[in-house]
Symmetry: C2
Subunit: 404 residues, 2 copies
């Protein structure tokens, strides 16, 4: 009898958690498991703001997929997914094709620019390891260029971050730590550099506890970050951005613009024809795509409604990893044809938002945290993610222990 073939697309939080849980649950004879990923490594998406700012080397935020999978049970294919043909139960790759009996789509997020003119062309976005280290190198190059110009252009040194949501705030926190290092490296007075965070909503970190938000904004302003709240980016140009607040339009010249205000699910979701909202599929209680009993969707391409507030859970690593656990359990039930599938219910332990390596805010188990205790907790969260993906060995290799 042919073993059922499970194909998992993507080795991000959702896909990798599905894989490592599945390889524990299923025996070699029970199923063929194939994991497809563009790169031979997994990266910690939630650490990319540090890589982008240049405060953490990219090699510290990634590890080889081969190091955490059980090669006797999982076949790893390094390739890029081009399309999914659900009717034929086939996946088209750049360099081949795969058939499946069960499919797990864990293709992650993309930047969402909401049609704002020039953002795609002129702004950077934190999409992956490649783009994060490009941001780092761009800033290095801009700072290295400054002192070479016959007439110095201070605006080159302005860094604009679009969005004061979670990613935007964490990014400016790192930048506030990084900029003094850059100034020292390239003989530039600190006061020449501006870090500007622009947010269209009427507050930073919309939806977060107001007391924590006030703490965050005050701390970041103390480190030299300027906030422009209630201010929308209208356009991004070669020279910077054009913003509007009420009816006031202003141009902010900047050598670096980083868009950190919107994400959406993979464009492959739309291409494959799944019913979706901005690349996210509202999955059934077992994490399957509606109308596709053989296709699970986990991570940022999935949409799960929080019934208590009738709004979607945010696309976080925490939710993606918990989906991976449930997805693996449900796949085991289907493969064996026995037992009951589990209904996915996120268990939100809390949220911590870093403000640089030495400060943070958060709510953990319902308790508000500030400063060093929140910063400590952030590193615990980061190390826990590593532990769930690759065990204690991975934590020792890539973990964050600069607690104080």
């Amino acid at each position: 009898m042919r073993k059922p073939k499970i194909v998992i697309l993507g080795a991000g939080y959702g896909g990798l958690m599905t894989t490592v849980n599945l390889q524990k649950k299923l025996g070699v004879s029970e199923a063929e498991i194939v994991l497809v990923n563009k790169n031979d490594y997994h990266y910690e998406t939630t650490w990319l703001h540090e890589v982008s700012a240049g405060t953490l080397h990219h090699d510290r935020s990634r590890f080889k997929v081969a190091d955490v999978i059980d090669k006797s049970k999982v076949k790893f294919v390094q390739d890029t997914v081009v399309d999914i043909k659900t009717a034929e139960k086939r996946v088209i790759l750049e360099n081949g094709e795969l058939e499946y009996d069960y499919l797990v789509v864990a293709l992650g997020y993309e930047s969402e620019t909401f049609g704002i003119k020039g953002l795609k062309e002129y702004a950077f976005s934190i999409a992956n390891i490649n783009s994060a280290r490009q941001i780092r190198e761009h800033m290095d190059y801009i700072f290295a260029t400054y002192n070479n110009e016959p007439v110095k252009r201070d605006e080159l040194l302005t860094i604009v971050v679009g969005g004061a949501g979670f990613t935007g705030i964490e990014l400016v926190g790192e930048l506030a730590n990084r900029v003094p290092q850059l100034c020292k490296e390239f003989d530039i007075p600190r006061e020449k550099v501006r870090i500007i965070c622009v947010e269209a909503a009427p507050m930073a970190l919309p939806g977060f506890d107001p007391e924590l938000v006030e703490y965050a904004v005050t701390q970041l302003e103390r480190k030299g970050v300027e906030f422009k709240i209630g201010t929308a980016i209208k356009e991004c140009t070669e020279d910077g951005i054009i913003v509007a607040k009420d009816d006031q339009v202003e141009e902010i010249k900047a050598g670096t613009v980083i868009w950190a205000a919107g994400v959406r699910g993979s464009h492959l979701i739309e291409k494959a024809g799944f019913e979706n909202m901005r690349g996210r599929v509202k999955v059934d209680p077992y994490l399957r795509a509606p109308g596709h009993d053989d296709v699970f969707i986990v991570g940022d391409c999935s949409l799960v409604i929080n019934e208590e507030i009738n709004r979607p859970y945010p696309p976080t690593a925490q939710v993606a990893m918990q989906e991976g656990v449930t997805c693996a359990k449900n796949l085991a039930v289907l493969v064996r044809g026995q037992g009951e599938m589990e209904v996915f219910k996120p268990d939100l332990k809390g949220t911590v938002c870093s403000l640089g390596h030495d400060d943070a805010i958060g709510i953990v188990f319902g308790r508000k945290l500030f400063g060093s205790s929140a910063s400590f907790m952030k590193k615990v969260v980061d190390n826990r993610a590593l532990f769930l993906q690759g065990g204690a060995g991975l934590v020792m290799k890539k973990g964050k222990f600069n607690f104080f």
Copy 2:
């Protein structure tokens, strides 16, 4: 009685050697000594190919002027020279003016592009610390960009060095060592990267011993450097260079073009009205500008003829530093109004050309050197320059001891 005022312009090899020798020779009461320099640091110009390639951090190749001058005898002014008015015995600075009784012009070199179209706009040149680290950061950025593009452009990774003279050869030697590190850092296969050295003359290192040149070229080719000898750069564009060999015209697309084929003396020499050839003044036997008994010119702005072969000595650090010693002696004679000025006669100990940190060629005390012994000698030469400028302490701080 007013003390005579000696103003030294530039803290490069020539100016700094004049200063440190002068402060040893003259007492506090004998003269007022003022040293003017654009930066608060001196840098080792002969190490800039390493800074540019990214194999040596720029802070390793510079030190504070304040660390080597005797503040009781020398006043240091950090400013940029704008013009020299010899008739009025005045120097115009960006932020002030200085009068002098004796002037030492040690304003160094500039890049000479011989009118080749586009070089100024699109090619980098190794002029100083600022430009060297910009080259390093540019290459980092280009390599970081490569994997972000939807269609990868291999030509981005091509590095063209214009000129296979001393600087060009030393630069490609460092690049050959640096490129594998860049490839590892940015996940790029080594074979995608080309290092091309273009030289218009019919051989690399024109004028150098042919056996040594052959060794150098063979070793560098083995490390992946491509030579295009007898090939002239006709134009530099945004996309690369256009070269011609015999009547064959070829475009070489490149993400980085570094011009290392020509230097000239400072443009201020011409502006001040000294008789000159490409910013270099043919000085009298005591190193004075013809017709100016109170103006000494040392370093790359001076031109001294080697009578034996009736050609100018090359503008090297070795000659500049020896000129500084003679210049200081002669100034002491003039200030005291006693003794005889010394005729400048270079004592050429040899030349060593590095081929990366682990290889070199050279002629030292008339003996040919290859490989590790030449590489060792190169580091001895570098450390000796530091010793002459700032003593044993400076050698310990900035010296090169990675001998093997």
